[in-house]
Amino acid sequence: MFKPGAIVSHLTFRDKVFSLDMILVVSILLLGIISCFAMYSTDGGEFAYHTKSHIVRFFIFFLLFFVVSFFSSSFWYNSSTIFYLIVLALLILVKYFGLTSSGSQRWLNLYFLNLQPSELMKIGLILFLAKYYHKISSTDVNRLRYFFQPLVALLAPVLLVVIQPDLGTSVLIAAGGIAVIWLAGVKMKFFAYLGIIFLSIAPVVISFLKPYQKSRILTFLDPSRDPLGAGYQITQSKIAIGSGGLFGKGFLNGSQSYLDYLPEKHTDFIFTLFSEEFGFFGSISILTLYMLITWRIVRLGNMVRNSFGKFYCYSFATAFFIYVAVNMGMVLGLIPIVGAPLPILSYGGSSMMAIMLGLGIAMSCGIHKDQAIG
């Protein structure tokens, strides 16, 4: 339905509110509420620090979601390059001024919050590449000279994050970038070459890995290798999820987390805690909500009538799905523990901010689906 002249350039506030995807909004809200209860449980059934700050963050960034979505998509299109460059600059700043915690330098102290720029880069890279492929013609996509810029844009932040070191986030950033490049139509053989190059440099990368990262990967390959060491997390997580059974142990009754057997239960292992307390049905409900969100973002992409919006929505949906899949795969013992938070549910301000920003931009593309860009 491409009617010339049907371009709506000025949407009223009311129009924008009404064109919000309510299924998406409700799904996010539901996950947010669930996350607050889950956090309450990790605090041992007390309204303590994690719970309080998580609730505050969720509602602030949920508000951010609406604000972002009401900005026109061309605003996001226009500011994507500068956004990417600012986040890249922050990543470089982290290298020199970042805060170090548990052997990893990831955070910038902004006094009112500790910002983790690598989380924002997840969105920044997708924005940047969506704009890039929006600009060039589909015939140029597979030309060698058009490979150069996306590749640099992808590798620069990924390497900066790897050296923090933060393998999990760098993988997730790369996943988002690759999703855009893939959707832009870059030929399969290019990915094949990239794979070969990756494999050939892998030994070099491995030599840069910290011992604990190496042992995590080795432990994944053989979990019984070191049951009380690196394998401990996987083992305890599987015990927690498995012991949840069909209906779970009940809210605040997850003995594995309550008795501190679960590592990092606030962040990466929040799904384990939920799974233990609410069982198979609880896990499936969470999974369903995530699938709903992914589906609604893809649907927004389907409706958008500019290729920037489509690239962005599809890529972000894919990346969002990968975040969820990596986290769940990790806590279920399907892939190595890499340190990847679960969107919305996990504790962490930067992650929450990045996800809400990403969702907001997708919503913005949806609201301004008929807007001309470029």
Binding site: H134, G185, G242, S243, S255, R305, Y314, A325
Partner: protein
């Protein structure tokens, strides 16, 4: 109009195709996650629930009170008492070094002890407690409680521990001590019972009855967090105390026997001749079994091991002695049963006889003159029995001896019991590898040579003769089957025989096994023993009791532990002049009362000289008290029946 500058429809179509591939991949991934959830939360949920509980719960096991051992009258011989203990849970202590330093000052712990505790802490989990002291005095315990607020990780505990009330029972009851590695290997019932504070029986009844006396262990189940800290108590089980056992022993008589054995090495055994109930089993010197309960000190242990008189050995069942003249009882029976001599046979004793050029001496240098069999038993004439033994032969003698219970264990389940030796031709061939000499038969006939018997075996022989020649099975635990009906049967049979003139054909097929062919032979020996104690010139005449109902009959014995040299014989060396280790053992066996007998007794005094001078007087005093207490025992027995 679509806003793309370049591209258009082609770009969109390609995007759709790629998006489709991604969707397909997503589906696979979601199916993978769902599949994994099904497998973990539905299929294997049981396994993970178990694992989760294993994480959550930790049990602290503790030993239950041990079963109590009582005497025949219900007096406690071995029971339990409250003890004050000090446990330390290392992980609760702020600094284990400081804690030990403080405890050292409060409790006078030695550096060695602290070192041992540290090693133990290192070898176990930080939440497992170690017992710093399992037997604190009240003042130490209260001092600990006073400083408790500054001693984190310390747990003063009130527990129960074994206590033995009488040292006189140390051997027969035995003692308990900590579980050793060997115990764990050999004793199946200790599986899963190796908990702090558990004690196992090492000897005597404590060992025999251990499986039933340890009870089942109790536990406290706590929920613990990942760091092992106790969060809350979930459940508690006190466990089951061990079974209590009543024995056939008599506390008063045991005490008296031990008192009489004081400063001597030896033993006293008393047995009910019908039921086989062991009334006394005393061994001397004795020791304090309580020392073993909380771990005996090296010094005390060495002292016990190095003591000349071997206090740890239960001489009643583990002491092996040649029976000496006691064997003449069995020689007589064997000879009469086998019809090799007539009791009227007369032999002249000149103090010795010559046999194949070898001289065999009688204990009486001047000789007994002409003696018949009864007189020979009464005066214990060796020369007479050389002749009887020569005619009888050692194999027939050994057969009779075995029939009466020599050469095998009397009791069941006493690991320390010895079975002794009943020599014969075959035995010598297999064990020494040499042929039998006729001279050895003569020595065997007076209970010297290869013979090895325990005092309890001698007591059993005496009992089975006293009851008229019926086999009995001694017991020490009241629960064990007794020969309850034997007495009644024997009495009825006497009456029947008198009235109906029924003879021994009445007996076969009955459940009571007879040890004779002709009961007259048994009665003959009994009469001879009466003479030995109650007629002048009898070997134990000086130890007789004259009061009606207290008259008893017995046989002395002196077992040589070396051969007299001709010189010593010439010089008439007295026993007391010899070094202690070379002195003879003194033996005495008896039954009482002579009319209507009830009990058999054996007394052995190591290196005590002649049986008549040391062993018989002790037997006399025990018999006196034994018979005085007989009515009490009967009352107790009827009480038991009516219950």
């Amino acid at each position: 109009m679509i806003s793309d500058r370049i591209g258009g429809e082609g770009k969109i179509r390609l995007l759709g195709r790629r998006m489709f591939i991604i969707s397909a991949a997503k589906t696979v991934v979601v199916l993978g996650i769902v599949g994994r959830l099904i497998s973990l939360q539905i299929n294997e949920s049981k396994k993970y629930k178990t694992l989760s509980d294993k994480n959550r719960f930790r049990e602290w096991k503790f030993a239950p009170p041990r079963g109590i051992i009582r005497d025949y009258f219900g007096n406690n011989i071995a029971s339990n008492r409250q003890v004050y203990q000090l446990h330390v849970i290392p992980e609760n202590a702020e600094n284990i070094n400081d804690l030990f330093f403080r405890l050292k000052n409060i409790l006078n712990l030695s550096d060695k002890e602290v070192f041992r505790l540290r090693r133990k802490i290192e070898s176990q989990k930080p939440w497992d407690s170690v017992i710093v002291s399992d037997n604190l005095t009240w003042s130490e315990f209260s001092r600990i409680n006073l400083f408790l607020h500054e001693l984190q990780g310390v747990e003063p505990t009130i527990s129960v521990a074994r206590i033995y009330h009488q040292e006189s029972f140390s051997h027969v009851i035995g003692y308990v001590s900590q579980i050793s590695k060997k115990d764990l290997q050999n004793k199946e019932y200790l599986k899963n019972k190796n908990v702090a504070g558990m004690r196992v029986g090492k000897t005597g009844l404590e060992n025999k009855l251990d499986p039933e006396m340890v009870g089942s262990i109790g536990y406290k189940r706590y929920e613990v967090n990942a760091f092992g800290k106790r969060i809350r108590e979930i459940s508690i089980s006190q466990g089951q105390s061990g079974k209590t056992f009543k024995t056939t022993l008599d506390l008063e008589l045991q005490k008296l026997s031990t008192k009489l054995l004081k400063d001597k090495a030896g033993s006293v055994c008393v047995m009910d001749i019908y039921k086989g109930d062991i009334v006394v089993m005393a061994s001397s010197p004795t020791f304090d079994p309580n020392k073993f309960v909380h771990g005996i000190s090296q010094k005390d242990w060495n002292q016990l091991l190095q003591h000349r008189d071997k206090p740890l050995v239960n001489k009643a069942i583990s002491g092996l002695y040649p029976p000496g003249s006691n064997i003449k009882i069995l020689v007589t029976i064997s000879a009469l049963e086998n019809d090799v001599v007539n009791p009227k046979m007369v032999q002249q004793c000149k103090g010795h006889i010559e046999f194949h050029g070898e001289k065999f001496h009688c204990w009486k240098k001047k000789g007994h003159g002409f003696v018949d069999m009864k007189e020979a038993i009464k005066q214990s004439c060796d020369v007479y029995f050389y002749e009887v033994a020569r005619r009888l032969g050692v194999d027939r003698l050994s057969e009779t001896a075995k029939k009466f219970g020599l050469g095998k264990k009397v009791l069941e389940g006493f690991i320390e019991e010895k079975q002794g030796v009943v020599p014969n031709v075959k035995w010598k061939k297999t064990n020494i590898g040499k042929g039998w000499y006729l001279g050895e038969t003569l020595h065997s006939g007076i209970g010297q040579g290869y013979w090895q018997t325990t005092p309890l075996q001698l007591c059993l022989v005496m009992a089975q003769i006293a009851n008229g020649g019926y086999q009995i099975k001694p017991r020490i635990i009241l629960r064990d089957k007794s020969f309850e009906g034997l007495e009644e049967f024997i009495r009825n049979k006497e009456t029947l025989r008198e009235n109906l003139d029924l003879l021994d054909e009445f007996i076969p097929g009955l459940k009571y096994k007879t040890l004779f062919k002709n009961q007259e032979n048994i009665n003959f020996v009994k009469e001879a023993l009466f003479k030995a104690t109650n007629e002048p010139r009898g070997t134990s005449y000086r130890s007789r009791l004259t009061k009606k109902g207290f008259i008893f009959a017995g046989k002395t014995g002196t077992s040589q532990i070396r051969k007299f040299t001709a010189l010593q014989r010439e010089l008439e060396i007295k026993n007391v002049d010899l070094p202690y280790e070379q002195r003879d053992h003194a033996l005495f066996v008896a039954f009482a009362p002579y009319h209507d007998p009830r009990y058999a007794i054996s007394v052995v005094i190591e290196h005590g000289g002649a049986g008549s001078s040391t062993a018989a007087p002790i037997a006399k005093q025990v018999i006196k008290k034994l018979l005085e207490r007989h009515s009490l025992r009967e009352v107790q027995q009827n009480k038991g029946k009516s219950v």
